[in-house]
């Protein structure tokens, strides 16, 4: 992929073959009355602004702060998140899996790129690419090492391959030294990768 970004007002001579083909397809779909370009703009804007890992971080911070919510979340993720008006709406079949001192969870989709969009936004390139999809199930500790993450040898590594329409969100362990923190403060520590299982939450006081 090139480093510079193209925009609608560039000459065709500057556009790649793929850009030309994508534009042609959109022109055809629009001319045939299948889609409205402003509706496509609105979809893109939602994924660029509203829907991202901050949604999942709010859920994790709430679970760290509210034991009754955590219990409900682990029982039925979609239902529990549905009670939080301020978080993005979530569809059915969201399963929340808890990291413990005995078990570290990690999520992959070996067949394509299934990912809890409503909680984490669109997946990063590495999640959709061959190295992660091929190795996560066979060599999970090796993959974690690629992220600079080490899980103690006596901890079970559980890999969840998202092969159906169920979606998995990892509930990481609450960092030590955060007693008395508000949900807003805690949410700042929750990283996207900690909710996929390829990272840990930030430590309190660590640079962001």
């Amino acid at each position: 992929m090139s480093d510079h970004h193209h925009h609608h007002d560039h000459d065709h001579s500057e556009l790649s073959e793929t850009e030309l083909r994508v534009r042609a397809l959109e022109t055809i779909l629009t001319e045939k009355g299948y889609v409205e370009p402003t509706a496509l703009d609105a979809i893109i804007q939602a994924y660029e602004t509203r829907i991202g890992p901050h949604n999942g971080a709010r859920v994790v911070a709430k679970a760290w702060s509210d034991p009754a919510f955590k219990e409900a979340l682990l029982e039925d993720g979609s239902k529990a998140i549905g009670t939080l008006g301020h978080v993005s709406r979530v569809g059915d079949h969201l399963v929340v899996i808890e990291n413990t001192p005995q078990r570290h969870n990690m999520v992959v989709c070996t067949l394509c790129s299934c990912y809890p969009w409503e909680m984490l936004g669109l997946p990063p390139v590495w999640y959709k690419a061959a190295p992660y999809r091929s190795r996560a199930v066979k060599d999970p500790r090796g993959v974690l090492a690629d992220f600079g993450v080490e899980v103690a040898k006596d901890v079970e590594i559980r890999v969840w391959d998202s092969t159906a329409e169920t979606r998995f969100l990892v509930l990481p362990m609450r960092p030590a030294g955060t007693e008395g923190w508000s949900e807003e403060q805690l949410a700042e520590l929750v990283t996207r990768d900690s909710m996929i299982g390829t990272g840990f939450p930030k430590a309190p006081g660590a640079p962001s």
Partner: protein
């Protein structure tokens, strides 16, 4: 199908390379492709399983050398042609030349955007009682359909334990081929790493898949 998309357990792809401060899209066209796929799916041109199958049918050398959204684009274009929503002549010309085909849910306009921000529902009433219960030992069938399936190769023939029952869901193997929803019970089945990968496998690892009942035999 035993395609190159079924990557679990393959070697040789190298290290995972996370990109710091990765943007949502790397190029503007990627965002247009994402939006077109979502819009045309919501308008009823295809279901999610069919769209996955079209990406799986991209020739292996093209699949492996294309970026993620390029694969989405290639799958979308071919699927819309084959389903009769556009023609190869129109694609070559870059303009509409034939009358439109009616979409099941009509034109995708601004009023439709909010409804796709929440995922579709895939649970269905059960046509029959579940064959398996939590804790049962099951063997993933040794099947190799040439069409779409969500049973990855790396578990076929192996024995695992039923851990969760998610109820009855749309069966992708049928839906992808437009043969109806054919709802089936869906279970999380967990396998020991060493059962899947042999003596060299990580003894502390377990891997689960979500398996539809037709993928499983009692063990």
């Amino acid at each position: 199908m035993n395609g190159v998309h079924d990557m679990g357990g393959m070697d040789g792809f190298g290290k995972v390379e996370p990109e710091p401060n990765e943007p949502v899209f790397h190029e503007e066209w990627e965002s247009r492709v994402l939006a077109m796929v979502r819009a045309m799916g919501a308008a009823g041109a295809f279901n999610i399983d069919t769209s996955r199958f079209y990406r799986e049918m991209i020739p292996p050398h093209v699949y492996l050398s294309s970026s993620y959204y390029k694969k989405w684009f290639l799958g979308l274009e071919e699927m819309l042609i084959e389903k009769g929503y556009l023609t190869r002549e129109e694609v070559a010309a870059g303009h509409a030349m034939q009358p439109a085909k009616a979409l099941k849910h009509g034109k995708f306009d601004l009023g439709q955007v909010e409804r796709i921000m929440v995922r579709g529902k895939f649970a269905r009433p059960a046509p029959a009682p579940a064959k398996f219960k939590i804790g049962d030992k099951v063997r993933a069938k040794n099947i190799h359909p040439a069409t779409h399936t969500r049973l990855p190769r790396y578990v076929r023939g192996h024995v695992g334990i039923v851990e969760l029952n998610h109820g009855c869901h749309v069966f992708p193997d049928s839906a992808a081929m437009e043969l109806g929803e054919n709802p089936q019970w869906l279970y999380t089945v967990v396998f020991e790493g060493r059962d899947l990968w042999g003596a060299d496998g990580d003894p502390t690892s377990k891997v689960s898949i979500d398996a539809f009942e037709p993928y499983l035999d009692p063990a």
